[in-house]
Subunit: 232 residues, 2 copies
DNA sequence: AGCTATTATTAGGATCGGTTAAATTCTTTA
DNA sequence: TAAAGAATTTAACCGATCCTAATAATAGCT
């Protein structure tokens, strides 16, 4: 007589699976078992098992041996988690003085414990931000996400001016290194050189004393927009 | 090569058990199986099972058929959770506009997901508060708790002036009702009447338009200090 | 087309934290 | 002090989520 209304209380595991599958769908078609396993650091058979359960409750569409897709219901749940995660990261940085390299781990746990009300209060306190500290768009309450088409730094021609917009948030060391180069979302720079064969890119950050060399692997994960050259 | 340092990652259940046992020890000797079961809304055999596990890892001392006691290690862990819980409640009220009747449920979940760092940042942002919104003392980082000897409202003689200091925080409806009487920790009042046979207490809140009648059951959970009569 | 390497699933098992029903121990009362 | 009653523990079981080893399906290469 107390509970029983919402059977839609998802477990922590379930929420992380849905979020992972969402991420995989974002960056290329459907989500493979092994990709999910990699992302969650879990053995593939465990993923097979969870896929079965999530399909049974209508959160996933599973084509055996092919992969899995979120149903509308699954996508809604995933987007809710993404919103939570990104609001949390933003709040921790803006209101509690966290560094951008440490918010991800904290948000990864908190996202499962927080109520809708808390997230909306945080969002309100932040002025309903549209991007998280790493530049990722924050889904709205109703589940819409801005679709951004960014260019990886490695694909920007030499001579162009660009602005960093988004960075993967999962590796703290990587984030610290990026920051040490003077880079953050919003920072503009000019691409002054690029070596062939997956070589490094050289950039000149606006107002910086000297050029920075960015390795290929790193530059592949720096998502930018090309800024039209200023006239004059 | 990644983890393996701290085997002391306690589960959510474990943390709630330790906190419950701590509370029971606070208010009278040792913690009985059935009392723990009641507090956590769990069947007694489940508690027996958990007690066995927690004893094996040295968090509890168990005398079969008698009860349990926290070991120093268990007490440390429990106090850590109490600190988390109370800092969270305070933060939610002070910084995010929660009402005092809704913070408990939120803190009950969050306490298991936050890091030490987050709690200390919140405590800092609050100016290291000593009491939570319900008047309960917040343990220090090193695990000390202020020992308060409050008098339940039912035990205050008629004619005395007293100040409300602490209120049980678990029932939102009860909290809303208490607030509707004009009562909060810090509010002073005079006891102007008390009926025998567990009857209600009548109080006159300083600056209020009319007297309030407080039922016995409620008054038993309003913890106060008697204020020496002002001279003149 | 057939073989092989990769990927996914199934089989079987562990642990955790919960349940109910039955047995046991403690306590209280006649 | 013996029996009844209350509290506790044990037994047997379940679902969720993970694991490893074995099996099956798919995809890529000659
Ligand atoms: Mn993140
Ligand atoms: Mn997570
Ligand atoms: Mn509380
Ligand atoms: Mn809790």
């Amino acid at each position: 007589m107390v509970a029983a209304q919402r059977s839609e209380e998802l477990s922590r595991s379930t929420e992380d699976y849905l979020k992972a599958i969402y991420q995989l769908e974002e960056s290329g078609g459907s989500a493979q078992t092994s990709a999910i396993a990699d992302l969650l650091a879990i053995a593939p058979p465990s993923v097979s098992g969870m896929i079965k359960r999530l399909s049974e409750v209508g959160l996933l569409e599973h084509v055996p041996y092919k992969g899995v897709q979120l149903t509308p219901k699954g996508r809604r749940a995933a987007l809710k988690m993404v919103r939570r995660h990104r609001i949390l990261e933003t709040y921790l940085m803006e209101k509690l003085g966290y560094d951008w390299d440490s918010v991800h781990a904290e948000a990864e746990r908190l996202e499962h414990a927080v109520s809708d009300e808390l997230i909306e209060r945080m969002a309100m306190a932040l002025g309903n931000p549209r991007y998280d500290p790493h530049g990722a768009p924050i889904p709205t309450v109703s589940g819409e996400v801005e679709q951004l088409d960014h260019v990886p730094l490695v694909d920007i021609p030499v001579g162009e001016t660009a602005e960093l917009r988004m960075v993967s948030d999962e590796d703290p060391e990587r984030l610290r290194f990026i920051a040490s180069l003077g880079l953050r979302p919003g920072v503009a720079f000019r691409v002054v050189g690029r070596q062939p064969f997956h070589g490094p890119v050289t950039i000149r950050v606006a107002g910086a004393s000297r050029d920075q060399v960015v390795g290929y692997e790193l530059a592949r994960g720096l998502y930018c927009v090309i800024v039209p050259e200023e006239v004059g």
